[in-house]
C-alpha cells in the first residue's frame, strides 16, 4: 500500500514538475493594490531627511495655496550674475590662451571649446539623457502647467514601443537602475572605500546604503520617490503634476550628483568622463539649439543660466583635459589605463563641481521663484502644488548638502559663509513641500550668498 502510494506521489510530482508555467496574465490593478507600490521602506532611510509628500502636495493645489498663504508675502529676486570670476587655475577653453595655460598646456584632446570629444564611441549616458529629454521638453511630462495622463506614467501594453511614458523612459534608458546605486560624492567617502574596480557597487548594497544614507543618495533619497510617484501617477491618485514634479526633482538631482560622480570614477575608467558630460548635457554641444537635462533647464533661465551653463562646460572640458593628460590616450576606448595625477584631477573636478553646484542652485532658485509667483493665484494652485512638491524633494537634499558636504572645498566654503546664513537656508529648504512664499524668497537670496557664480 505504502509502495503504491509512494509511486503515485512520485508520478504526480513528475507530472507537476514536467509542466511548464505559463506567462502571467494581466489583472487590471486596483487603486488599492497600486497604492502599495512605492518607496522601499527598508532602503529609504529615515536619516535621509527627504521630505515625504505632504497630504497637501499629494492632493489638489488648493491645499498648497493654503499652506503657502499670500500673507507670507515676499518677493524672490532674480539671480544677478555679475562679478563672475573664474579661479586663476581654471581651464578656460573659450579663451585664446587656454592651450598655453599651466597646467593645461599638455591637453591635446580639447580643440573645440563647444564640443566634448568622447573617449568611447559607445558612451551611453549622453544618449540616456537625450532620450529622457522627451519628458522635460516644453509642454511635456514635466510641464507643471498640465497633468500628465496615467498612461504617460506607465506604458500600456500596446504602447510598449512608443517610448514616451515616464516609466518606460526611466526603466529602459537604464536610469532607474542607476538611481539604485548612485552615490553623492560630495559627502565623505565611507571609511575604507577605495577607488578601485568595485567602488561603484557600494551603494547598490542595501546594507551599505542604509549605513550611509547621505552618501548613498540614489537608493536612499531618490529611488523610492521615483517608484512611489510613478505608481501613484499610474493609478491616477492625487495630482498627476505633483507626481511628475517629484519625479523631475529626483531626476535633476540625480543628474547633478551623477555628473559629479562620473568625474571621479573617470580616474579608473576614462570613459566615465564621457558620462560626466552626458549626464549634464546629453548629446548636445555647448551651443546647440536643442539641449537636454540640466543644460536645458539652465539655458531656459536666460543670460544668467547661460553663463552657468558655459562654466559647467568649461569644467567638463577641464575634466576631459586632465584625463587626456593622465593616461587617457589609449586605443581601447580608455578602459584600461587608470589615472594617477590626483592633484590635477581634483583641480579639474573642483572647477566642475563649483560650476555644477552653481547650476543646480540656480535651478532651485528658479523653482522657488516659480513657487512664489503663484502665490494667491487660485487658477495656478495646481501648478503651485507641483512646484512645492519639487522643492519638497530637492530642498532637503540641498539643505543636507549645505550642512554636511565635506569633500573638496565644501568645508571651507561653509566656514566662510556669512554668519547665520547656513543655518537659515538649511531651515528654509528643509521646510520642503510646506515652504512658504516668504521662506522661498529668503532661501533664494541666501543661496545666492552661499553659491556665487564661479
Amino acid at each position: 500500500m505504502l509502495k503504491r502510494s509512494s509511486l503515485s506521489l512520485l508520478g504526480i510530482s513528475l507530472l507537476v514538475a514536467a509542466c511548464e508555467t505559463p506567462r502571467p496574465v494581466n489583472d487590471v490593478p486596483s487603486a488599492d493594490a497600486v497604492s502599495d507600490t512605492g518607496v522601499d521602506s527598508s532602503v529609504q532611510s529615515d536619516a535621509s531627511d527627504v521630505t515625504q509628500p505632504t497630504d497637501a502636495a499629494m492632493e489638489s493645489g488648493a491645499d498648497v495655496t493654503d499652506a503657502a498663504s499670500p500673507s507670507d508675502g515676499g518677493d524672490v529676486a532674480d539671480v544677478v550674475s555679475s562679478a563672475c570670476m573664474p579661479a586663476a587655475t581654471d581651464f578656460l577653453p573659450r579663451t585664446a590662451m587656454a592651450s598655453w595655460m599651466t597646467p593645461w598646456n599638455g591637453c591635446m584632446a580639447v580643440t573645440n571649446a563647444n564640443a566634448y570629444p568622447y573617449f568611447s564611441g559607445s558612451a551611453s549616458a549622453p544618449v540616456r539623457v537625450a532620450r529622457l529629454g522627451a519628458l522635460d521638453a516644453p509642454g511635456g511630462f514635466f510641464d507643471p502647467t498640465r497633468d500628465p495622463a496615467p498612461t504617460e506614467f506607465v506604458a500600456a501594453a500596446a504602447d510598449a514601443g512608443a517610448n514616451t511614458s515616464a516609466e518606460f523612459l526611466f526603466r529602459d534608458t537604464g536610469v532607474a537602475t542607476r538611481y539604485q546605486r548612485r552615490a553623492d560624492e560630495h559627502y565623505a567617502v565611507p571609511t575604507g572605500l577605495v577607488l578601485n574596480s568595485t567602488y561603484q557597487d557600494f551603494c547598490g548594497m542595501a546594507a551599505n546604503a542604509m549605513a550611509n544614507p547621505d552618501y548613498c543618495a540614489g537608493p536612499t533619497a531618490l529611488n523610492g520617490v521615483l517608484n512611489d510617484s510613478l505608481a501613484a501617477g499610474m493609478a491616477g491618485m492625487g495630482s498627476a503634476r505633483v507626481h511628475a514634479a517629484r519625479i523631475q526633482a529626483t531626476y535633476q538631482w540625480w543628474l547633478f550628483i551623477s555628473s559629479h560622480k562620473e568625474s571621479l570614477t573617470c580616474a579608473p575608467v576614462s570613459a566615465d568622463c564621457d558620462s560626466a558630460a552626458g549626464y549634464y548635457t546629453g548629446t548636445a554641444g555647448r551651443n546647440d539649439a536643442t539641449q537636454y537635462g540640466l543644460a536645458r533647464a539652465l539655458i531656459a533661465l536666460g543670460d544668467a543660466g547661460r553663463a552657468a551653463h558655459d562654466r559647467i562646460w568649461d569644467g567638463l572640458l577641464a575634466v576631459r583635459c586632465w584625463r587626456d593628460m593622465d593616461g587617457g590616450r589609449t586605443s581601447d576606448g580608455g578602459t584600461t589605463v587608470p589615472a594617477t595625477n590626483e592633484a590635477l584631477r581634483e583641480q579639474a573636478r573642483m572647477q566642475l563641481d563649483a560650476a555644477l553646484t552653481r547650476g543646480i542652485v540656480m535651478i532651485v532658485q528658479a523653482r522657488l521663484r516659480a513657487f512664489a509667483s503663484t502665490d494667491g493665484d487660485v487658477a495656478r494652485a495646481a501648478e503651485r502644488a507641483a512646484h512645492a512638491a519639487w522643492i519638497g524633494v530637492v530642498g532637503p537634499l540641498l539643505a543636507n548638502g549645505i550642512e554636511r558636504w565635506s569633500r573638496g572645498s565644501w568645508a571651507a566654503r561653509r566656514a566662510s559663509a556669512p554668519a547665520g546664513v547656513v543655518s537659515r537656508v538649511v531651515t528654509e529648504l528643509r521646510a520642503g513641500a510646506s515652504i512658504t512664499t516668504t521662506q522661498a524668497g529668503r532661501a533664494s537670496a541666501d543661496l545666492e550668498a552661499l553659491f556665487p557664480c564661479p
Binding site: L14, R131, G161, Q180, T191, G192, D201
Partner: protein, 705 residues
C-alpha cells in the same frame, strides 16, 4: 568504449571516475580532461571550453543526438548542465574542428555523452529485475541528492532501465573565507573590504565584483537551485546484431539564479535574475547495429524540447521582468559504414567508408513581459528574447573514407555538404527585422596515421568546422556577461580549420597522448561595442545594462593555438596515476573601431593541468589524491574588460588538492568520499561568476541489488 573517431584527439571520463570524484554535474565530470576548462556563470550552470572556445562553438551530443539548437548562445551556455551525470556511462571529448563527421557547431570540438545501457545478461531466461541507486551529499553547497534506478530484462529480447533523481543545492561556499577582523574579533573599521580572501583582481587587488559574498566572506549569493531528472530506456533485440532503442531523458531545474546577475553590478543588490525553470526533454527512437554488410547503422528520429522561464526581480525598482523561451527540435539522422574492404590482392590495403545524413528543425516560442512590482500589473513586450514564431533548419550529408596499408599507415579523407536556414518574422513595434536567410557550405577533412610500432601512433589531421549564424546570433536581445547583446541579422557563417599533430602511446604501464594544434577561424563572431541608440525599439534591459554589444564577424582570421598532453601510468595492479597539461592561445582582429589591430579572443583558458593518483589498498578499497592548477589569465578581449565575471586585469591562478577514498563495505553498498580543496583555496575558472567550492566533503553511497 570511446569515440569512434580514434584518429583524433579524444579523451574520456568513465562512470567509475565520475563516482570516485563524486561529480556534481555532467560538466563537472570534464574537469580532468585535457584541453577542457569548465566555466560556470552560475552554480547550476556550466559550459565546457574545448580548445579555447565554448557555447555555440562546441557541439554537444547525447547518444548521437545533437543537443545544440538554434538558440545556443555565443559564449558560455548552461545546456550541458541539463545532462544528468547520473544517467551517463561515459563522456568523451573530441577536440578540434569536426564538422565533417558531426555537423555544424563543431569548431572547437565535440562533447559526447553516452547513456547507461540496460544490460543483457545471457543467463536470464525469463524476467530479471535489478535495482540500484546512489545518494550523495556535498558539504560546500549543503547539497543532498539521490538517484534511483531500476533495470529489467525480459529473456534475451528486451531490456529496460529507468531512473529518477533529485538534488537540492544551497548556496555554495567558496574557499578562503577569511574576514578582516581586529584582534578582538570585531570588523576592521578602516576598510569596507571586509574579506581578506576571495578571488581578487589582478590589477588592483579588489575583490571580484561577482559573486556577492555573504558575511562569512565565503558563501556566494545566487548559487542555490533544485533539480529533478528522469529517464527511461528500452532496448529490443531485433536481431543478433540489431537493436531498436526508445529512450527519454528529462531534466528539470528550478530557481537557479544566474550568479553574475544575482545581483547584477548595475543595480541594487536585491535584484536577481533567476532561471525559474530550465527544462529539457529529449526523446528518440533508434535502430542500431548491423544489417548484412551495413555496419555501424544508426537510424534515429528525435524530439527535444528546451524550455527556459527566467525572471529578473528588482524589488527596489518599479518593475520586474520575465521571459519564456522554448524551442522544439525535430531531428532525423542516418549513419552507416561498410566493413573493411580489401582493395589489394593480399589484403594489405583495406578501405572502410562511413556516410550519413541528418536534418533538424527548431521551432521557437518566445515572450517577455514586465510586472509592476507588488501590483501584479503586466506590461507585455512586443517580442521576447527572440521573435516568437522563429524557426531554424539545418543539417547535411557526409562521406568519409579510410584506407589502411598493412595497419601501419592509414589515410583518411571525407567531406560534408551542410545547410542552414533561419527564419524570423518581422515585428514592427520592437523594430525587429524579418530574417529569411540560408547558407550552404562544404567542409572537408584529411588525416594521416602512422604506426611505426603497434603501441605507437603518430597523427597529422586537418579537419574543418562550420557554424552558420543561428537564431540567437541573428535575432536575440539579451543580457550577457559583458553587457546587453543586440541582434545582428547580417552575420555570416564561421568556418574553421584545425591543423593538428599528435602522438599516442598505448602500453600496459604507460599511456601517453600529446597533441599540438592550430585552429583558424574565418569570420569569427566576436562582440563589438554598441551605443544606447542602437537599442532598437527601446530595448528593455538593453539600456539598463552597463554596456551594449553586438556580434560581428571579424575580417581577418582568428587563431587558436595550443596543445595538450595526457599521461597515464600504472604500476602493477594497485597504483595508477594520470596527469594532463593544456594550453590555448587565441587572438582575433579587434572589434573596436579605433582599437588595436589584434586582441585576445574572449575567455580563452590559461595554462592549466591536473594530476591524479589512485592506490588500491585492497580489491575493494582505494585511496587517492588529485591536484588541479591553472595560471593567471590576463590576456583579455575587449568584452572581457566589460565583464564583471572577470576580475579587473584578469583571473588569478590557483592550485587545488583533493583527497579521495572509497570502499565496498558490503555486497550491496559502496562508499566514495572526497575531501575537496583541502587548503580551502579561493579560486575560479577564468570567465566564471562563481568561485569554485571551498574545502568540503563529497560523499556518495551507492547501493545495488
Amino acid at each position: 568504449m570511446q569515440s569512434d573517431n580514434a584518429a583524433r584527439a579524444v579523451s574520456s571520463t568513465t562512470r567509475r571516475e565520475m563516482d570516485e570524484r563524486v561529480v556534481r554535474s555532467a560538466p563537472d565530470a570534464l574537469r580532468f580532461q585535457p584541453g577542457v576548462a569548465v566555466q560556470q556563470t552560475a552554480h547550476g550552470q556550466a559550459s565546457p571550453y574545448v580548445r579555447g572556445v565554448t557555447g555555440q562553438q562546441v557541439l554537444l551530443l547525447f547518444d548521437g543526438v545533437r543537443l545544440n539548437n538554434g538558440l545556443y548562445r555565443q559564449g558560455p551556455n548552461q545546456y550541458f548542465f541539463t545532462v544528468d551525470a547520473g544517467s551517463v556511462e561515459q563522456i568523451d571529448v573530441e577536440r578540434g574542428s569536426a564538422s565533417v563527421r558531426y555537423g555544424s557547431d563543431a569548431i572547437g570540438g565535440v562533447v559526447i555523452a553516452r547513456p547507461i545501457e540496460p544490460r543483457f545478461d545471457p543467463a536470464v531466461r525469463t524476467v530479471a529485475l535489478r535495482a540500484r541507486g546512489f545518494a550523495t551529499y556535498t558539504s560546500a553547497d549543503q547539497s543532498p541528492g539521490a538517484r534511483a534506478e531500476v533495470e529489467a530484462q525480459f529473456a534475451d529480447r528486451v531490456a529496460v532501465v529507468a531512473g529518477v533523481g533529485y538534488r537540492v543545492a544551497h548556496e555554495l561556499r567558496g574557499g578562503n573565507g577569511d574576514r578582516r577582523l581586529l584582534a578582538d574579533g570585531t570588523p576592521d573599521p578602516t576598510t569596507i573590504d571586509r574579506c581578506r580572501g576571495g578571488v581578487r583582481s589582478l590589477r588592483d587587488g579588489s575583490l571580484a565584483r561577482t559573486p556577492v559574498l555573504e558575511d562569512d566572506c565565503a558563501t556566494q549569493r545566487g548559487t542555490g537551485f533544485r533539480e529533478l531528472t528522469f529517464d527511461g530506456r528500452i532496448v529490443v533485440r531485433v536481431r543478433q546484431k540489431l537493436q531498436a532503442v526508445a529512450a527519454i531523458y528529462g531534466y528539470r531545474q528550478f530557481d537557479a539564479p544566474r550568479t553574475d546577475l544575482c545581483p547584477p553590478t548595475w543595480a541594487s543588490d536585491r535584484a536577481c535574475m533567476r532561471f525559474q525553470e530550465q527544462f529539457r526533454t529529449l526523446a528518440y527512437g533508434s535502430l542500431r547495429g548491423e544489417i548484412g554488410s551495413l555496419r555501424e547503422l544508426a537510424l534515429t528520429v528525435s524530439y527535444q524540447r528546451a524550455h527556459e522561464r527566467r525572471r529578473f526581480d528588482n524589488p527596489t525598482g518599479f518593475t520586474s521582468q520575465g521571459w519564456i523561451d522554448s524551442v522544439d527540435t525535430l531531428g532525423i539522422t542516418a549513419r552507416g559504414a561498410t566493413p573493411r574492404m580489401s582493395i589489394s590482392r593480399y589484403g594489405a590495403v583495406g578501405m572502410t567508408l562511413r556516410y550519413g545524413l541528418d536534418a533538424w528543425r527548431d521551432s521557437v516560442r518566445s515572450v517577455e513581459w514586465a510586472e509592476v512590482n507588488r501590483s501584479g500589473f503586466v506590461i507585455d513586450s512586443p517580442r521576447g528574447q527572440y521573435v516568437d514564431g522563429s524557426s531554424y533548419w539545418y543539417g547535411g550529408a557526409f562521406g568519409e573514407g579510410e584506407i589502411s596499408l598493412r595497419d601501419a599507415l592509414v589515410l583518411r579523407a571525407g567531406g560534408r555538404g551542410a545547410f542552414a536556414y533561419a527564419s524570423s518574422p518581422y515585428e514592427p513595434i520592437s523594430s525587429s527585422q524579418s530574417v529569411s536567410r540560408g547558407w550552404g557550405a562544404f567542409v572537408a577533412r584529411a588525416g594521416l596515421e602512422w604506426r611505426p610500432a603497434p603501441p605507437i601512433g603518430v597523427f597529422a589531421n586537418i579537419d574543418q568546422g562550420f557554424r552558420p549564424p543561428n537564431l540567437d546570433d541573428l535575432t536575440s536581445r539579451q543580457i550577457t556577461g559583458p553587457g546587453f547583446q543586440i541582434e545582428n541579422p547580417e552575420l555570416a557563417p564561421e568556418r574553421s580549420t584545425t591543423y593538428e599533430l599528435g602522438t599516442r602511446l598505448r602500453t600496459q604501464p604507460v599511456e601517453l597522448d600529446a597533441w599540438a594544434f592550430a585552429t583558424r577561424i574565418d569570420g569569427a563572431m566576436v562582440r563589438a561595442p554598441r551605443q544606447l541608440s542602437d537599442c532598437a525599439g527601446g530595448g528593455g534591459l538593453c539600456a539598463m545594462s552597463s554596456s551594449r554589444i553586438a556580434l560581428v564577424n571579424v575580417k581577418d582570421p582568428a587563431w587558436v593555438l595550443g596543445g595538450e598532453a595526457a599521461l597515464r601510468v600504472r604500476a602493477g595492479t594497485r597504483f595508477e596515476a594520470a596527469a594532463t597539461v593544456s594550453y590555448a592561445w587565441g587572438e582575433a582582429t579587434s572589434p573596436l573601431e579605433a582599437g588595436a589591430p589584434r586582441l585576445p579572443l574572449s575567455r580563452v583558458p590559461p595554462l592549466q593541468g591536473t594530476a591524479e593518483g589512485r592506490f588500491s589498498v585492497s580489491r575493494e578499497a582505494y585511496v587517492g589524491a588529485a591536484f588541479r592548477w591553472a595560471t593567471a589569465q590576463d590576456r583579455l578581449a575587449y568584452q572581457d574588460t566589460l565583464d564583471p565575471r572577470i576580475p579587473a586585469g584578469g583571473t588569478p591562478g590557483y592550485a587545488l588538492l583533493d583527497l579521495r577514498v572509497g570502499a565496498r563495505v558490503s555486497r550491496f553498498l559502496r562508499l566514495n568520499a572526497v575531501l575537496e580543496n583541502v587548503f580551502d583555496t579561493a579560486w575560479r575558472v577564468h570567465g566564471s561568476s562563481v568561485n569554485g567550492p571551498g574545502r568540503g566533503l563529497l560523499v556518495q553511497a551507492a547501493a545495488g541489488w
